[in-house]
């Protein structure tokens, strides 16, 4: 099992969600986050006051996947989240030792 964390543009979230649903990904955790990588911040001046956004709004997706789904999910996110501009985000993968469903204590991939 792998844990996938993807930080994407908020504007791409709906497309990514729809695309993942199409390939059978049912569950994910979504968080509104702020951050930046290479993308610079954004400054607007309104009525003499400067509004600087150093940490840009992003959406973070988290999901734990059975090994056989990992590649297709990564491909799907890459395709649906990409705009080609700086700030499109990143995907992180890490191995998961165990998953347990609290309701019935199922373990492993059955618990996903």
């Amino acid at each position: 099992m792998m844990k996938l964390e993807a930080v994407i543009q908020p504007s791409r979230f709906e497309s990514v969600k729809d695309a993942l649903r199409e390939i059978g990904v049912e569950g994910m955790t979504v968080t509104e986050v702020r951050g930046h990588g290479r993308q610079k911040g954004h400054t607007e001046v309104y009525r003499g006051r400067e509004y600087t956004v150093d940490l840009l709004p992003k959406i973070k997706l988290e999901m734990v996947l059975p090994d056989n789904l990992v590649n297709s999910v990564v491909d799907t996110i890459l395709k649906s989240a990409k705009t080609g501009k700086i700030g499109d985000g990143k995907i992180f993968l890490s191995r998961v030792e165990e998953a347990i469903r609290i309701r019935n204590e199922e373990r492993g991939e059955n618990a996903l």
């Binding site: 543009q9 908020p10 504007s11 979230f13 709906e14 509104e32 986050v33 702020r34 954004h42 607007e44 001046v45 309104y46 009525r47 003499g48 509004y51 956004v53 840009l56 709004p57 705009t83």
Partner: protein, 882 residues
């Protein structure tokens, strides 16, 4: 209600004998109890009333409690002297729901009897548990009952519903007649304060509304706990002593509400198989199907059945709030008293004979006057204007008059002028809430009735549609008083929003389509606006603005969530759909309120920040692209027709010539009626080359001036205003294709010269014409005036920012200035621009407190300003503004 035992309770030595040794063993009693429970359940499901069901459950519990108690005593070979069992809370009131706990107090005569009976009590509780009764027990000696446990008010409140179950009757008599009357009297202020606190905390936990999509029929506002708290408030207020503070009709409504909610709670317990009181969507369907609590057996839709539920919940909640308000145990602070006094004096000056302020609430003085709706409406308008809520008694009085035919109402129609006063005030929600509760809102705006108590199943929404709608307005109203992190940016937008009534009416109607059989609720809401606009006689402009807000009410939220708001193309596209700054401001506030009212967590700081960024970017887009979008009058067929109708004179071609080439924003900031008046002035230019008009507005005066372009015109006009001691708050300057300048200045009359001497308006107009025509010099007028005002030091310091922008406009250089506002400022800036040969093509002047925010579109010899000129201008302006 928890009546937790003292520490150490039920930890006694295990009994030496137990019930298995009794002649009626558990193996017999258990199935008997269960069979009885099933019988009661079947009886309820086949139509027996909740009242009878609760009574039967209580009888069953009483029977077993008595039987087990006797058995335990018998097995232990004890008499019950010095011990009695007392039912508390709901069980004490004989309102025992299928899976509720049995709240029982074990009362001991002395410490010694407590020690002796401890093992017996443990056995008793265990046995009842084994029979399927959940006992929530507490134990006290008679002596302990005299003391008030300050950290356990719940116990003392539950004790108000005491009822002897079994044991020593003389001990109970001592408690009931000697001990408690004294201690309860002494503890009354404490208990009242605690009951208020517990109740307020609970109501706050549920958002202070009955209108939850999946309410908890026990704990939510309007639930059974409201009823219980009301009973206690009445008991503590000593109503038993003969002062009836509730009418027979109200008592009857309460009774039927309790029956309905009791039936619902029984139904939930039976369906959930536990003490779970959440009225889920699935159970709403099942309850509606069997017309639960209605009794006619005719299946309802879940929405219709929930309307019944909310009607009853409203009755219980209204009663509770009335008692909470009446018996406020906390004295008012000095500040509150001073505020009341200040507010009271304001109202004395208005309609003092009909209502007054007491304890910070509006009270009705002359009840008979309420049959005149005009007076009732002015009570609501007063509440919305001053921020003083109506007392529950005032609301009750209005409610009484509304349903009593011996008081025939007059002046029932609420004209748009009066409704506008309420909707456009600082506290619209303070009037709209009671108006909704009393049914007046639906009378005035029947379209709102479509969403009355309407449950629309939605994963995100927590409240019914009407509640969501009223919350949107409350969230805006709350922006005026120190909003939280999410609202901080939007507070200024709310404070400066013009024509708020349009925004608030748009909010009232934005979701009414959800109560219509239409595919897209926005279509329905717009249709509702059509009928409301006709009835209220809204002007076409008012209707058009509200319609636009309704049609676009989801756009800003969608753009924030689905588009890259930092992409200029997104901003340009969004700006195009919004069309102008004023609408953007309203739409932004509407979106803020709409998201906020979905549920308490819906508007995250993240979303609020995104919304604000889109607003700022779009606002800047508007101010930087003003000269891009010019009017081609020939294409504006409907506008031409409307202006012609208002003007009453002049040909269409003439109107076209007048309008041609004005920035499109001109249409956004002036109504067709105003434009027609401008056209009237335009037609007189051939007689007199300077046409000026001064009119009083809501916040001050407006000066409109039309003249062929001439050097330093803007600085000259602002100089005349400064010379007369007027403070310019806002201005715009536009030019049409023929070089006719139309300047509008909104100003306040600092010395009340024009207000106190109306004849001065004519002299002011004459001075203006003379100065513009060069017949009088400005210097004479200004002498002394500006220098005097310069001596005063400002309360807030604003740093000066001067910014040039060459990229936003194809023909002009944009100059954006933010600086400290002061009298004569605009004249000084205008003069500096004129001295350096800069021509103002378009100007937008605004103020925000002590801050002047100005945008000028400049040319020099019909071209953009060169870099050298910009530097020179920056230097000069910095010198002028410092």
């Amino acid at each position: 209600m928890t009546t937790a035992a003292r520490p150490g309770w039920n930890r006694g030595v295990p009994p030496s004998k137990n019930m298995q040794e009794s002649p009626t063993p558990l193996s017999v009693l258990g199935p008997q109890a269960e069979a009885e429970r099933q019988k009661i359940r079947q009886s309820f499901e086949s139509g027996t009333s909740a009242r009878a069901t609760l009574h039967a459950l209580c009888e069953l519990a009483d029977h077993h409690v008595g039987q087990i108690f006797d058995e335990v005593l018998r097995v232990q070979n004890r008499a019950p002297d010095g011990l009695c069992l007392i039912a508390l809370g709901g069980y004490g009131r004989r309102m025992l729901f299928p899976y509720s706990d049995l709240d029982i107090l074990f009362l001991f005569g002395t410490d010694k009897t407590e020690q002796e009976f401890r093992p017996l009590i443990s056995e008793f509780s265990r046995t009842l548990w084994d029979l399927g009764f959940r006992v929530s027990s507490a134990g006290r000696t008679l002596e302990e009952c005299k003391r008030i446990e300050e950290d356990n008010a719940e116990f003392h409140l539950a004790l108000l519903d005491r009822r002897l179950l079994a044991g020593d009757p003389t001990l109970f008599e001592k408690l009931d007649e000697k001990v408690l009357p004294g201690s309860e009297k002494q503890a009354r202020p404490f208990l009242l304060a605690q009951l208020h606190k517990l109740t307020r905390d609970r109501l706050t936990r549920y958002g202070n509304t009955i209108f939850h999509l999946e309410p908890n029929v026990k704990e939510s506002p309007g639930g059974m706990r409201d009823y219980q708290a009301t009973i206690w408030l009445r008991q503590l207020a000593e109503e038993k002593k003969g002062i009836r503070n509730i009418t027979a009709a109200e008592e009857e409504m309460c009774s039927s509400a309790v029956d309905f909610l009791s039936a619902t709670r029984c139904f939930l317990h039976y369906n959930n198989g536990r003490n779970d009181n959440t009225l889920t969507y699935e159970l709403q369907e099942a309850a509606a199907e069997r017309a639960l609590g209605i009794g006619d057996g005719v299946a309802r839709t879940p929405s219709d059945w929930m309307r019944q539920y909310f009607r009853h919940a409203r009755t219980l909640n209204r009663q509770l709030l009335r008692y909470l308000e009446q018996k406020a145990p906390v004295p008012l602070t000095l500040r509150q008293r001073l505020m009341n006094a200040a507010r009271a004096s304001k109202i004395e000056a208005g309609d003092g004979k009909y209502f007054q302020v007491r304890d910070g609430l509006l009270e009705v003085v002359d009840l008979s006057a309420l049959s005149d709706r005009a007076i009732t409406y002015s009570l609501f308008a007063e509440s919305a204007r001053t921020g003083t809520p109506l007392s529950r008694e005032a609301e009750r009085s209005i409610g009484y008059v509304l349903i009593h035919p011996e008081l025939p109402p007059k002046n029932t129609e609420m004209p748009w002028e009066k409704l506008r006063e309420i909707l456009g005030s600082d506290y619209p929600s303070l009037a709209l809430r009671p108006m909704q509760r009393l049914g007046l809102l639906m009378e005035i705006l029947p379209e709102f009735g479509l969403i009355d108590s309407l449950v629309v199943r939605d994963f995100y929404h927590r409240y019914t549609v009407d509640e969501h709608t009223l919350r949107t307005i409350e969230h805006l109203q709350d922006l005026a008083d120190s909003p939280d992190e999410r609202g901080a940016h939007f507070a200024q937008l709310w404070k400066t929003a013009e024509r708020r009534e349009l925004l608030v009416l748009a909010l009232l109607l934005h979701d009414v389509g959800k109560g219509m059989p239409v595919e897209n609720h926005v279509t329905g809401s717009v249709a509702a606006l059509d009928s409301a606009a006709k009835r209220l006689k809204l002007s076409p402009e008012e209707k058009s603005e509200i319609q636009s807000l309704i049609e676009h009410h989801l756009d800003m939220s969608a753009t924030v969530q689905r588009r890259d708001i930092f992409d200029p193309a997104t901003v340009a596209g969004f700006a195009e759909s919004v069309t102008n700054q004023e609408r953007l401001q309203r739409l932004c506030l509407l979106t803020y309120a709409d998201i906020h009212a979905v549920n308490p967590e819906a508007l995250t700081p993240w979303k609020a920040e995104m919304l604000w960024q889109l607003f700022v970017a779009t606002s800047n887009y508007f101010s930087r692209t003003l000269d891009r979008d010019r009017l081609h009058a020939h294409d504006e067929v409907s506008l031409l027709g409307r202006i012609k109708a208002f003007a009453g004179a002049g040909s269409t071609e003439e109107i076209e010539r007048f309008l041609e080439g004005f920035p499109r924003r001109y249409l956004a900031v002036h109504s067709p009626e105003e434009i027609a008046a401008h056209f009237g002035l335009y037609r007189k230019l051939s007689e007199e080359p300077v046409q000026a008009q001064v009119a009083a507005t809501r916040h001050g005066f407006a000066l409109t001036l039309l003249t062929p372009d001439r050097p330093a015109l803007f600085s000259t006009i602002s100089g005349v205003l400064a010379g007369w001691g007027m403070n310019i708050n806002k201005a715009d300057a536009f030019a049409n294709a023929a070089g006719i300048i139309l300047d509008t200045f909104y100003f306040t009359d600092l010395h009340r010269t024009l207000e106190l001497n109306p004849s001065e308006i004519t002299r002011f107009g004459k001075t203006l014409e003379d100065v513009v025509n060069g017949k009088t010099t400005l210097e004479t007028l200004l002498k002394g005036r500006v220098s005097a005002s310069r001596g005063r030091s400002p309360k807030v310091t604003v740093e000066t920012r001067i910014n040039f922008d060459d990229s936003s406009s194809a023909h002009c250089t944009l100059l954006e200035i933010v600086t400290q506002d002061r009298p004569g400022l605009l004249h000084e800036m205008g003069s500096a621009l004129a001295r350096l040969g800069c021509n103002i093509e378009v100007a937008l002047i605004d103020t925000e407190g002590h801050k002047a925010i100005d945008v000028f579109y400049l040319t020099a010899q019909s071209k953009k300003l060169t870099a050298q000129k910009q530097e020179l201008l920056r230097e000069v302006l910095q010198g002028t503004l410092s």
